[in-house]
Symmetry: C2
Subunit: 578 residues, 2 copies
């Protein structure tokens, strides 16, 4: 992890590889590293699909170690969806593997001089880049199968589907899971389009012959990790709810809270949500011979994922997450879990962000392209995207573009990115995060739902404006730090509630790197990351006025609580005043 | 002209009409009035197609009088294309007629509670509003024919075609000409989509029984008008070039200067431009029994327009203007004048901005949807827009959306609006106007081409950055004032070169209103208008960073002069420091 791998796809004579020491970026991993490189090296007014943008793929500080939950990876660039800086985060195997191969980041730069599609193979012996146009327009599943045939089954893959090749702003970057399926995605912000613009279809990693990264103080590290794991196991969210039902345990919870965005954010409750709840999903998975408890990467102890089989008992997709089930489900008025699982599969295969696509289909439904609740129509719309028809091109560029093209007014986006599965009127803290995040509307950037609804880390009334700024601010700072460690964000439930688990995390980092960081230092890191990101956005033309929800959230009341978004503009403008 | 007519399309129980005195807007006409109302009454963060936006249609201060050239009309709103304030300006009959009917402005407000399509009839007896769904999706030509059948042939019309009904961001508002054809358009910025969002298909005006507006000092007014007309007649541009060849006289001139944007702004010269030049166009029109010298409204003495017949000698369209011939011609590599005239006709009929559409087709060609130079393909693409297919919806939303949807990098827009017919690298003064105008890329906002190329009002070297800021600034100020008078902008050629013609214009206004304005007062008015507009844009989230050309204009050299855009960001930021 002490090297940065730069691949200039636009070099004369074909792609050129350079390795450089961690150097000025030393001590930065994951989001801290991707945002530092984007903020420091990418001209903020460049075209996101142009030669000046860079795509940075960075494991976290603890990735590749024995630390539990350390398999998250960050993908950064200037976003084609939002025009802001972007860090999109994924699980899967590549984070651990890339870290073990010794790379703190892969930086894709420049733009190919030809129209070829490239694959990049990285193992202990170095980097091989070759053009391979036989991969053109392959779905992620077929692509990974082809790579397995070619490179064996010890590999993992970072890839794009047809959506990324077509440079759609909802295109994801896929990361293979433990079963070598392309089910984990850096979904948000169109990072797949940037990979496509670099002409890179797939990066194949093989860490055969490489070892787990050794800590400076193995004993302390082992102890801290043990304490950390025990903290995760004993917390009700990470130790019980998530393993049993996955993230989709939230469907009933958020619906009950009246903040479940239904039919394009028209209502806060979905009548038939029990048909698509985590409880039903887990039951269905188990009954069909799948699994309701499963991890997305080696070293995961929460196991919030699962395996979803079709009616015939054959693998269809990984367990669709809460946001996916909501996006393609309640938000489109769809209560058919099999259809939602099929949509999840299609999104993974075409390489699309499930949140953006679900939000987009709902906007298309509001535009009259299909009826709310029509699952077949939704599936057909996503197929249009995969085929790249004109309609598919519209949808594949996300909810904001779709709304613009079809003249729809009610488009739930901030900075061009679709809101996830929590109505900001019903959970006002998450509304603050949507409005002010450097990323556009993003629930993971400061998951106020934890405190507003799950009462983790205290309690702030979700329906009132009071306390939401402070809540979102603190969470955004903490998240920016966690996203830099390679840790799964779900550790936050335990870390927020249990000081000893938070301390164990810090101890792990200190023991690994021989540091003596404190909790304050962690907060400082988070602030530093946010500051870099916000500085980039400012230079790209974003101001406080862009830190706003669409005006209808202040005008239309959300049933059943009949509440509008109450946090004032002047308060939103205080978020970054810490 | 002492009343403002407000029509609330969203009132309970159907559209409600109120008339109010000129009041706080007294002394403001045309653009000054539309921008004052938008800036003062429209929430800058509202959705352009929502109930809070307003569409203001305002004749100029001298419209409806005997003053020559006073038939221009302003259409203002928050633009669905740019998100900025918008004033889009048109010729045609309605300006004079509306002013004679006593209205300083029509303000369309609110949003219909039903899905009906409305027509508004205004005559000396007042305002009648009725729903008429038989007009749905009619082209402007058929629509106007229907209105003639219904209301007789003393009327004039303000209308939208299918593009406006579909709320496309390239939709225009059409104004009938002296022959009662819908050939004059407030094209830019999607004002037609806003009219569509208000549910208004057509406003029919009949000034039967109304008189020309009387000046306070008829004698002085008559004298000043005479001097003014004589000034226009004696200037080589307004007295010779424009009457003989229309605006398209510029094709050879701009091509010779190496600033003729060819094939989506790839080159500065178009090999076969003589086939589509003003000289060829005038010859073709005359040979086929059309006309090469014709005015767009009563009282025009420049007569820059014409009548274009097809090969069989039947009327096809009004004389396509330079920007249209360029947009659908050289910019798409098309050198077939009949095809260009057909595209002009289609744009007028569907209700589309010819500049935006030509720029969009060129971007689509760069995306590979058609080959540069393929006129049939271009015609088919515009038909797609009229039909509202998904592809048509994309194109009908302009070049920026088309570029985004198809992942094209080279998209010549500023603030989302397509650049007109002058490459900003070959004519750097117009580049300053594109970058800094409150309207997005707009040549009319500060026509530096006059001084850079035509040597009107002095000379500033078009290829060098020196002097361009001052040039553009002064022209933008003067234009904002002229756009408020109802005067055709082409008077500026004579006014800039001949102090006595400028004085005659001021004398006319003074004699009409009993004022004693000076040249300085005119400049103050222009500054006041720009300040209001910029203030609105600031509140809508626009900053100095949005006052930039796309980065490729600073990176790619334009042949034949091989020059990039040289005016520095810091200089652009000085434009509004006067």
């Amino acid at each position: 992890m002490d090297k940065i791998l730069r691949i200039n796809m636009g070099a004369e004579g074909g792609p050129a590889v350079t390795e450089e020491p961690w150097g000025k970026y030393e001590g930065l991993g994951g989001r801290a590293l991707t945002s530092a490189i984007v903020s420091g090296e990418v001209p903020p007014l460049c075209h996101p699909l142009g030669e000046d943008n860079k795509l940075i793929i960075a494991p976290g500080l603890l990735s590749g170690t024995a630390a539990a939950m350390s398999g998250r990876i960050s993908v950064g660039c200037k976003s084609p969806l939002t025009g802001t800086i972007k860090e999109s985060n994924s699980g899967g195997q590549p984070s651990q593997v890339l870290a073990r191969l010794g790379y703190g980041a892969i930086v894709l730069e420049g733009k190919p001089k030809d129209d070829n599609l490239y694959k990049i193979f990285i193992n202990k012996d170095g980097v091989t880049i070759s053009s391979d146009n036989s991969l053109r327009m392959l779905g992620n599943y077929d692509l990974v199968d082809k790579m397995k045939e070619e490179y064996g089954d010890k590999i993992c893959c970072i890839s794009i589907g047809p959506a990324g090749e077509m440079k759609m702003a909802a295109a994801s970057v896929a990361f293979t899971d433990m079963e070598m399926r392309p089910t984990r995605h850096a979904g948000r912000g169109g990072v797949g389009a940037v990979m496509g613009s670099k002409g890179v279809k797939v990066i194949v990693l093989d860490d055969t012959g490489m070892k787990m990264r050794p800590p400076k103080d193995p004993e302390k590290f082992r102890e801290a990790n043990k304490e950390f794991v025990s903290g995760l196991k004993k917390h009700p969210v990470t130790g019980e709810a998530l393993p049993a039902y996955g993230t989709n345990v939230l469907t009933n919870v958020i619906n009950e809270a009246g903040a479940y965005p239904t039919k394009n954010f028209m209502w806060g409750r979905f009548d038939n949500c029990s048909a698509i709840s985590g409880e039903t999903e887990a039951e269905t998975e188990t009954a069909r011979g799948g699994s309701a408890t499963h991890g997305c990467h080696r070293g995961c102890v929460i196991q919030c994922s699962g395996i979803y089989m079709n009616k015939d008992g054959h693998y269809l997709t990984k367990q669709p997450e809460y946001e996916t089930v909501w996006a393609h489900g309640g938000n489109c008025g769809i209560d058919d879990l099999d259809a939602i699982a099929m949509l999840d599969r299609l999104d993974d295969d075409y390489g699309l962000d499930t949140i953006e696509m679900g939000a987009t289909v709902a906007v298309a439904m509001e535009a009259g392209l299909a009826a709310f609740g029509d699952a077949d129509a939704a599936i057909n719309l996503v197929h249009e995207v995969g085929k790249g028809t004109p309609l598919g091109r519209i949808l594949g560029n996300g909810a904001a573009v779709t709304g613009k093209v079809f003249g729809v007014e009610r488009v739930p986006v901030v900075k061009g990115q679709a809101m996830p599965a929590y109505d900001p009127r019903g959970i006002q803290g998450i509304g603050v995060t949507y409005a002010t995040s450097t990323m556009g509307a993003d629930h993971t950037a400061g998951y106020a739902v934890a405190t507003n609804i799950l009462k983790v880390g205290g309690y702030v009334d979700p329906l009132k404006p009071e306390g939401q700024i402070e809540l979102s601010r603190n969470l955004q700072i903490a998240t920016a730090a966690v996203d830099s460690t390679g840790m799964c964000l779900f550790i936050a439930f335990a870390v927020l509630d249990q000081p000893e688990t938070f301390q164990a995390l810090i101890d792990m980092i200190n023991a690994f790197y021989g540091l003596s960081m404190t909790a304050d230092d962690v907060a400082e890191l988070g602030k530093k990351v946010l500051k870099m990101e916000r500085d980039f956005n400012t230079r790209a033309g974003f101001t406080a006025i862009h830190d706003r929800l669409p005006d209808y959230f202040m005008k239309e009341s959300l049933p059943p609580h009949n509440v509008t978004f109450q946090v004032k503009d002047e308060e939103l403008d205080q978020l970054y005043n810490w």
